[in-house]
């Protein structure tokens, strides 16, 4: 990381450790406590959630923290927000830090929308007067003028989120701590969130964003860290961190997805079919994807091999040997190699399924999630499955 030395540090975390005491059974009663003493049993164990975490956030950074569920990123967030006390290590915050672990903290269903705005504001550290100044713009942004004197319990959940979010974006702090929960809600609301993030970025606000959404990381952040098992696994550019995260997830979904055998289903005609990845798992779209498919048959059929590459559950590429006029050749060899140029695929995590058919295209066997790979980088387009060479022409008539 090439941190510019002249930018002041907004947040400094040094050798942060945190462990929790996990009770084996419910340990919230004196009875259980006495039983445990009697049995000479330790009723708890220590779980180390964060191990020696250190990083710096400079002023104006849009800093991403990514990691899987249970990696310790929520604990880190709560430590930064001062909700938890560090086991050891140091957190240094320069300026006021406004955390949004959840929207609408302290909202009370029995109070009116108006009363909740002031209560929530007080919890965030704003006086009644300050909130009065913000009140009109909060109500306006939430588009809930008509409901302000109704109790919150009569609001739909969408309305509650809207109100909470409207308060949140009026909060002024030097450092904003945003949890991914901000990005829940319908598409229109998500768009509002993203517009808000965009605005924060433009205003050079210091923001720490915790999320699962790698496209958001690539889009907004200028620095990021990946947390795994309570340690920083990778830190650097958002592209680098996001790609590592995608790759890790691909690997583990493979490992936890009952391995290759579990996803394999064969008819009696096929004895076995195996997939072998030849290329690396992290690829660029200038690379090629190389793999082999081998099979053994029980019956004398004319096999057709096929594969499909999918992203987010949607099939992007599908090919088979019959369409490629290869059927008769592979019957002899029982193994075939395949090469695919990746230039038209956009960055992201991909999954490969393979299948074997009879000549009449009836399915004889398949392996789901036989292989995975990640295409790195975000240099070409923002979204979409494929990159297409459309041509723009400014010289049109009229």
């Amino acid at each position: 990381m090439n941190v510019k030395e002249n930018t002041p540090v907004a947040l400094k975390v040094e050798h942060l450790h945190k462990s929790f005491i996990l009770p084996h059974e419910r340990h919230t009663g004196i009875k259980q406590y006495l039983i445990n003493i009697f049995k000479k049993k330790k009723g708890y164990e220590h779980q180390r959630v964060l191990k020696d975490v250190s990083f710096n956030v400079s002023q104006g950074d849009f800093f991403g923290i990514v990691g899987r569920n249970g990696s310790g990123k929520s604990t880190l967030l709560k430590l930064l927000a001062g909700i938890y006390t560090p086991g050891s290590g140091n957190i240094e915050v320069n300026g006021t830090l406004v955390p949004f672990i959840e929207l609408g903290v302290g909202f009370n269903p029995e109070l009116t929308g108006r009363e909740n705005i002031f209560l929530n504001g007080a919890l965030l550290g704003f006086s009644r007067k300050e909130m009065q100044q913000k009140y009109d713009s909060i109500v306006e942004f939430s588009e809930l003028e008509r409901f302000m004197d109704q109790k919150l319990k009569n609001y739909s959940s969408g309305m509650q989120v809207r109100l909470a979010f409207s308060i949140a974006i009026r909060a002024k702090g030097d450092i904003l701590l945003l949890d991914e929960v901000l990005a829940v809600g319908d598409a229109a609301f998500q768009q509002k969130c993203f517009d808000y993030f965009e605005q924060l970025k433009k205003d050079k606000k210091t923001v720490i964003l915790v999320t699962h959404d790698m496209s958001a990381v690539k889009r907004f952040c200028n620095k990021a860290i990946l947390i795994e098992n309570g340690e920083i696994k990778r830190s650097g550019t958002p592209e680098d961190v996001a790609d590592q995260y995608l790759l890790d997830n691909v690997d583990t979904s493979h490992a936890s997805g009952q391995t290759k055998q579990g996803n394999k289903k064969l008819e009696s005609t096929v004895k076995d079919i195996t997939f072998n990845m030849k290329s690396a798992k992290r690829l660029k779209n200038t690379d090629t994807l190389d793999f082999t498919i081998a099979y053994q048959l029980n019956n004398d059929i004319k096999p057709v091999l096929g594969y499909s590459i999918s992203k987010n559950g949607m099939s992007v590429v599908e090919m088979n040997t019959k369409d490629s006029k290869l059927s008769s050749d592979i019957q002899v060899k029982h193994k075939v190699a395949h090469t695919l140029k990746l230039h038209s695929l956009n960055p992201g995590a991909y999954k490969i399924d393979i299948a074997i058919f009879n000549d009449d295209m009836s399915l004889q066997g398949h392996v789901l999630s036989a292989g995975q790979f990640v295409i790195e980088g975000n240099d070409r387009t923002r979204g979409g499955f494929i990159y297409a060479d459309g041509v723009w022409d400014p010289n049109v008539n009229q």
């Binding site: 009663g29 001062g82 909700i83 302290g106 209560l119």
Partner: protein, 276 residues
């Protein structure tokens, strides 16, 4: 991060004052929501309880006939006791009840406990006005010592707050505390000279009478009665006059509870978010 709890400068800091105010107002609004009589219940409850107790103890059992203005004397005792019970039990559940909040935002935890006791204090204020009215009806002479009644009430508040701090923190760890406190309160009610004059106990057993008067709650209630209603009241300073080491015991108990509760609360409040 310096431990900032209990620092005077922090208690009166603007931000915390705002939050405290907002929490007290909210609590008050919510308490009598959807009830027809609303906050009148704050008045009616002690009055009705007083009516029952006065009927049973004053009229049927003829206790306290030797004390002038026994009805007001009894009412003041009940009101102060109710304040003690309300402040401590509100405090007891304060942290656990706001667990949701504590897990999501960082703010000084003592504010929640204080806000619970302040609602109790507001109720006490309302009830003291009622007592003023009763005093007028009963023809109680306004004693020169009456303004001093603020002192035992203040002492009782400090004690209640300290107990509330201790119980709220202990309740996070062991939820049994609530049940235990219910029983303690029940026993303490009968061990405190509220319904009966302490002179009744002293006649039968001087030792037990003296022991009962060591309680800071008994001391505060008796002092308040002495200052506000009748100088016939037996106070602990009279009872232990000449024996300063006995006389200071109620104050020492309060002081010890305040110090111990502050230390305990301060230590455990750091971990409320993970334990609650």
């Amino acid at each position: 991060m310096k431990p900032s709890l209990m620092k005077i400068s922090n208690i009166i800091s603007r931000k915390n004052r705002i939050l405290l105010r907002e929490l007290v107002v909210t609590e008050f609004k919510l308490r009598y929501q959807d009830s027809v009589l609303g906050f009148l219940w704050s008045l009616l409850k002690p009055l009705l309880m007083f009516a029952i107790l006065y009927f049973v103890f004053g009229q049927l059992l003829r206790i306290g006939s030797d004390i002038e203005h026994y009805a007001v004397y009894l009412l003041l005792g009940i009101v102060l006791w109710n304040f003690f019970v309300e402040a401590t039990s509100q405090g007891l559940s304060a942290i656990v009840a706001r667990g949701d909040l504590i897990r999501k935002i960082n703010f000084p935890k003592y504010i929640i406990v204080v806000s619970g006791t302040i609602s109790a204090l507001i109720n006490l204020g309302i009830n003291l006005v009622v007592i003023g009215v009763f005093m007028a009806i009963n023809g109680v002479d306004l004693l020169a010592t009456a303004p001093l009644v603020i002192l035992p009430i203040l002492l009782l508040y400090v004690l209640s707050l300290a107990i509330a701090f201790f119980l709220s923190a202990a309740n996070v760890k062991y939820r049994d505390v609530g049940h235990i406190w219910d029983i303690v309160i029940q026993a303490a009610f009968y061990a405190t000279p509220i319904l009966y004059p302490i002179s009744m106990v002293l006649e039968r057993s001087a030792t037990i009478g003296h022991i009962l008067m060591l309680s800071p709650v008994a001391q505060a209630i008796q002092d308040a009665r002495y200052l506000l209603i009748t100088h016939q009241t037996v106070t602990s300073s009279q009872l232990f006059s000449g024996r300063w080491y006995m006389w200071i015991i109620p104050y020492v108990i309060t002081a010890v509870i305040v110090v111990a509760a502050s230390i305990y609360f301060r230590k455990s409040s750091k971990y409320f978010a993970e334990n609650v």
